[in-house]
């Protein structure tokens, strides 16, 4: 893995870490509800590890899908254009278009995180949301060793501007693998805070969280701007090859 790629994933990880204080507000309730196990410390840790693994697996899955979709879009566009134009030009055009869209959407998400935009919940509303709510509600209260894992998996699908933003980033990443790694870096970034949540069982001070959510929004703006720049600036050296 090149140094540039490493730095890229580190930025994503940092954004995930800062952003996880947003998660603590929204999803931390689930971690709290899971609470401590009666059986002692070790089962408690296992329970929360299971929950968080489920959550991160869903993120990585979404990242893989987004990466595949992004790669497919670029490739399809390239295959279509190849007969007419020089292939490398068209390929980069398709990727550039995708990057512009993703970059702009990430800026929108960042604004939303900062509270400057209303959330667009009509997109995910309806039966799916109602079903997800019911499912999460049942799983939070369910007994059984495997329930936290299932809760984590379902939790991962809960609509969240952070997850949206990084899934978009995964789509631009270019390959399924880089898409997965993007979301893995993000997911691991959210790991510490969420794991801690289960342990200490209460929310961090809102002021504290407010600052870190701003930091997360800052990271997303940064990544969004880089994504846009990669698409708009005609500098080929800017093109980072992600594994």
């Amino acid at each position: 893995m090149s140094g540039v790629a490493m730095a890229y994933y580190l930025v994503i990880f940092a954004a995930g870490f800062a952003g996880s204080f947003h998660c603590v507000g929204m999803c931390g309730g689930f971690a709290c509800a899971l609470g401590a196990s009666m059986a002692g410390e070790r089962p408690t840790i296992v329970k929360h590890l299971l929950y968080n693994s489920g959550r991160v697996t869903t993120y990585v899955f979404l990242g893989g899908l987004a990466g595949t979709l992004g790669a497919g879009l670029s490739a399809a566009h390239a295959a279509h254009g190849q007969a007419l134009l020089a292939s490398d030009y068209v390929l980069s055009l398709a990727q550039r278009l995708l990057s512009v869209i993703a970059g702009l959407l990430m800026l929108v998400m960042a604004l939303q995180l900062l509270g400057y935009l209303g959330s667009r919940h009509a997109v995910v509303g309806g039966f799916g949301a109602a079903g997800l709510t019911t499912a999460l509600g049942r799983l939070v209260r369910a007994q059984g060793a495997a329930a936290p894992l299932a809760l984590g998996v379902a939790n991962g699908f809960l609509p969240c501007p952070l997850v949206y933003a990084f899934t978009l980033q995964a789509a631009v990443a270019g390959t399924p693998l880089s898409g997965m790694l993007t979301m893995l870096a993000f997911g691991l970034g959210t790991f510490p805070a969420m794991l801690l949540m289960g342990g200490i069982g209460r929310l961090f001070a809102p002021a504290w969280r407010r600052y870190s959510v701003r930091a997360a929004a800052g990271f997303i703006v940064l990544i969004g701007v880089i994504t846009l720049a990669r698409a708009l600036l005609p500098v080929s050296s800017m093109h980072v090859h992600l594994p």
Partner: protein
């Protein structure tokens, strides 16, 4: 504007920002920073019980965990991210996939194997069998491939199972939603009661209660046992069991029925029967049974799949056997596998339950309870709708219609009647009071007025003995009968009106007629049903004239009167033979048989519980208005289901042909199949959206 405290998200506590999302949840307005927090808030503050459904959900979640990992690894394989310069690496990845797939297949496949086994024992092969065959084939083949080298299809197996399990879960969730709305009818086995043990009182589940136990019932509580009152007195609402809507006064030595509600006093009851031994318990079991009945067209899909499975197997076999001679066995087997996978009627399994569950959920949100999943399907094909008259088309409460005062002043007669009836409390009394106040008449002041049970009211006004009641009773009081009034009374009675005679100073002075009041929406509803192409009939146990009058008022297509409950059931049966699918709308005890006999029994809001028990659809109070919309919704559901089934079948047909010809790899086949499911799902969800907009439009109107 919102209060200052509302500048933070109600769920996560972060600032709301400039454009918060606002929702009315739990009766108060709340503000949230994002949609996710709205959902999370609902999850944290909702009430959810742990059921079998929860176990299915855990199964689905854990299975999805493994399946997602499998798909991630497989994605890497296909995208070439793991390039195998080292052959053993590929072997390792395959083994990892195998290790992940085994628990996924075991966890998610278990219920399908069970179901397929049950089907097989009855000599059937349904969609579960195809799933088992397809998944088993993909898994078995991949296992061999892991050992001997070649491509693996664990991702196909896992994806198929996840999609199918999701379909089953959605179906179960739809039924559970109906169950929640029926909660009062389901709690017979789950109530807790206060048992008196010597000087202490303990809360025990009803299952622990045995005959002979002493139970303390507080005001407002539901009485959970059949028993004898040892001490205390209270008014009791027995509507759940007897259909008697008036509170019944009970005291020491009286019997109470399980399911009734203690309205105002504390009772000490000696238990004679508890839980499932009571009538209430039996009703609850009946409701549970209805909820467990399989959804209708998914049954049809299974029947179709039953014929489908042997055909698919034959095609798969043929694809392997008759593949070109130069094709290696490996590739030939792949063709067979592709056929099995692509034939898995995923979309077929989802087509009916999803649309039906959405329909049931939509109806539940309007207060209509679907007690039997099949009702929606049958409702869509109903051509004739039969209405019970009293209490369904009419309000069931009498209204003053007409009077004849002979030689006296009508207002005088009405004032006397109102003065007398002030001392009574039956339904006619309020009708007379309403008529008097509508004419701005003061009720005559009565001295020493009292009710003579079963006869009427007698009292004294302006020195004259006055009475209201039946003609016979007035005669026994010594009142002279006026032939004009008597003739008019006879004509009122033959018209189906309820009558009351009024007399004072030794003569019968007038006769009052009361009719049942038509519900204001009845006419509109029947007209709307006619526009939907339905024949409407009125069926009543009442007098022919009264029935005819109501039938004409609502412009029904026909009527039948003086029918006993047994007659009604017979009539429905004969109409079914002549007119096809019939729905009966009723409310009372005397049409329980008719409701049961009909293809779809519909009980209206105020319905007694026996009616509810035999009806497959229960409308809320004043729910008559909803009928046309219910029919439209049922038809929309059927259209969606048929559309889904057509799509799924033609899709399967083409895909099988492609797979048998070798133009489709198993993975592509699985992807196509998943796509088919998504299309079916979107098509079904349109149902929710379209009826939403229609509702919004009608609300605006």
């Amino acid at each position: 504007m919102m209060a200052a405290s509302a500048t933070f998200c109600h769920h996560c506590g972060l600032p709301l920002g400039l454009r918060p999302s606002q929702r009315r949840l739990g009766g108060t307005h709340r503000s949230f920073c994002c949609y996710g927090c709205i959902l999370a808030f609902q999850v944290r503050h909702g009430s959810f019980e742990e059921t079998q459904e929860t176990h299915a959900l855990i199964r689905l979640g854990v299975g999805a965990f493994f399946a997602m990992n499998i798909m991630l690894l497989s994605l890497l394989l296909y995208s070439g991210a793991l390039d195998f310069e080292w052959d053993q690496l590929q072997q390792l990845v395959h083994i990892a996939l195998w290790l992940l797939a085994t628990p996924a297949v075991a966890i998610l496949g278990g219920p399908f194997v069970q179901e397929a086994w049950q089907e097989a024992r009855r000599g059937l092969a349904g969609s579960a069998s195809l799933v088992v065959l397809g998944v088993g084939g993909a898994y078995g083949y991949s296992m061999l491939a892991v050992m001997s080298g070649g491509d693996v299809y664990f991702d196909t197996a896992a994806a198929v199972l996840v999609l199918f399990t999701l379909g089953r879960y959605i179906e179960a969730a739809g039924r559970a939603r109906a169950a929640r709305d029926l909660a009062p009818m389901l709690e017979a086995d789950s109530l807790w009661v206060t048992r008196v043990e010597g000087s202490v009182e303990v809360r025990r589940p009803i299952a622990d209660i045995v005959p002979g136990d002493a139970i303390r019932v507080a005001a407002g509580e539901r009485i959970a046992v059949d028993g004898l009152i040892l001490a205390g007195s209270a008014c009791v609402d027995e509507a759940v069991i007897s259909g008697e809507s008036r509170p019944v006064a009970k005291q020491g030595g009286d019997r109470v029925i399980a399911g009734s509600i203690d309205l105002d006093g504390t009772l000490l009851v000696q238990c004679e029967a508890a839980g499932s031994a009571t009538q209430w318990g039996r009703i609850c079991q009946g409701v549970r049974h209805a909820l467990a009945t399989a959804m209708p067209l998914s049954g049809a899909a299974d029947r179709l799949a039953a014929g489908f499975v042997p055909v698919v197997l034959a095609i798969a076999g043929a694809a392997v056997l008759f593949s070109p001679q130069d094709l290696p066995l490996d590739a030939a087997l792949l063709r067979g596998l592709a056929v099995l996978v692509v034939a898995c009627p995923c979309a077929l399994g989802l087509a009916a339950p999803l649309a039906t569950a959405l329909g049931i959920a939509r109806l539940a949100r309007q207060g209509c309870l679907v007690r039997d999943g099949r009702a929606i399907e049958r409702l869509a094909s109903v051509r004739t709708m039969v209405f019970d008259k009293t209490g369904t088309l009419t309000k069931g409460t009498p209204r003053f219609v007409a009077m004849n005062a002979g030689a006296s002043l009508p207002d005088c007669v009405l004032r006397r009647a109102a003065g007398l009836e002030r001392h009574a409390d039956h339904a006619l009394a309020s009708a007379i009071a309403a008529a008097a106040s509508a004419r701005r008449l003061m009720a005559e002041t009565m001295i020493d007025a009292h009710v003579v049970p079963g006869c009427g009211v007698v009292g004294t006004a302006t020195g004259d003995v006055s009475a209201i009641g039946s003609s016979e009773w007035l005669t026994t009081l010594g009142f002279a009968v006026d032939p004009v009034i008597d003739a008019k009374a006879r004509s009122f009675a033959s018209d189906g009106y309820t009558i009351a005679h009024v007399g004072w100073a030794g003569r019968v002075r007038g006769v009052l007629a009361f009719g049942d009041q038509l519900r204001p929406e009845a006419r509109r509803v029947i007209a709307a049903l006619r526009r939907l192409g339905l024949r409407t009939l009125v069926l009543s146990g009442d007098q022919p004239e009264a029935t005819r009058r109501i039938a004409e008022a609502v412009t029904a297509d026909g009527w039948e009167a003086k029918a006993s409950p047994e007659d009604k059931a017979e009539l429905i049966a004969s109409w079914r033979r002549n007119h096809g699918c019939i729905a009966v709308v009723g409310d009372g005890l005397n049409d329980g048989l008719a409701l049961a006999e009909a293809d779809v029994g519909i009980a209206v809001g105020t319905a007694t519980d026996l009616a509810r028990e035999t009806a497959s659809l229960v409308l809320p109070a004043a729910g008559l208005e909803l009928l046309p919309r219910v029919i439209e919704l049922a038809r929309a559901v059927r259209r969606r289901i048929i559309g889904n089934l057509l799509w799924a079948f033609s899709y399967n047909f083409i895909a099988i042909a492609l797979a048998a010809g070798g133009w489709l790899r198993p993975v592509m086949a699985a992807a196509l199949m998943a796509g088919s499911s998504v299309i079916v799902m979107i098509n079904s969800l349109r149902l929710e959206r379209s009826s939403n907009t229609r509702e919004a439009r009608s609300e605006r109107l």
